[in-house]
Symmetry: C2
Subunit: 125 residues, 2 copies
Amino acid sequence: MSVEIGRLPAATVLVCVTCKSAEGQVGAALYEALGARLADKAVALRPVECLSVCKRPCTVALAAPGKWTYVVGDLSREAHVEDIVTAARRYAAAPDGLVPWRERPLPFRRGVVSRTPPLVPALSE
Amino acid sequence: MSVEIGRLPAATVLVCVTCKSAEGQVGAALYEALGARLADKAVALRPVECLSVCKRPCTVALAAPGKWTYVVGDLSREAHVEDIVTAARRYAAAPDGLVPWRERPLPFRRGVVSRTPPLVPALSE
């Protein structure tokens, strides 16, 4: 198995657009709201069909080559857009994706569903 | 951000070795048991300090370059070593990491904590 990874953003925010709640298609709504806030070379935004965390909508993941991937649930368009933007920028600035606990917005401390390490650490540039 | 990924196994089983239960260090015990069963070029085994799924020990992840990453909890050394080996081999054989539902061992249907897509799909070889 081989993969060539070129230059990718220092953070990609993966948003589960299939997340639903009693209020409807909340994942797609969150994705739209983030699109209006994230226009940043360091942070990419990408919709995903199901992150398999269906009991804790909305769910997003932060990922980048060579970094830990974080999956975070219990997020909403109404309450958490700015927290997600802040978390994504701090993640982008962290070479390994590990943002110090105190620098994480509260929903990114309470809502962590899982984290997974990079298979290959990032190279220093 | 750039990462060069060379040849990595078609599946890496990441085992949370900090998982604990009332029975003690169950994650480390599962890791040891898997080490005795997985001696396979296609499947690598790697310990991880915390996958952040502390309420559902033991937890493992299946990952490979260009594939979806799956995090699965509620696994034990006593009941699930063969299921993990089977799941890892089927994951290794799946180009995108998406194993058809019916081919997944039961604990890998019921225990899914999250899944995240590859940032870059695998290249065909």
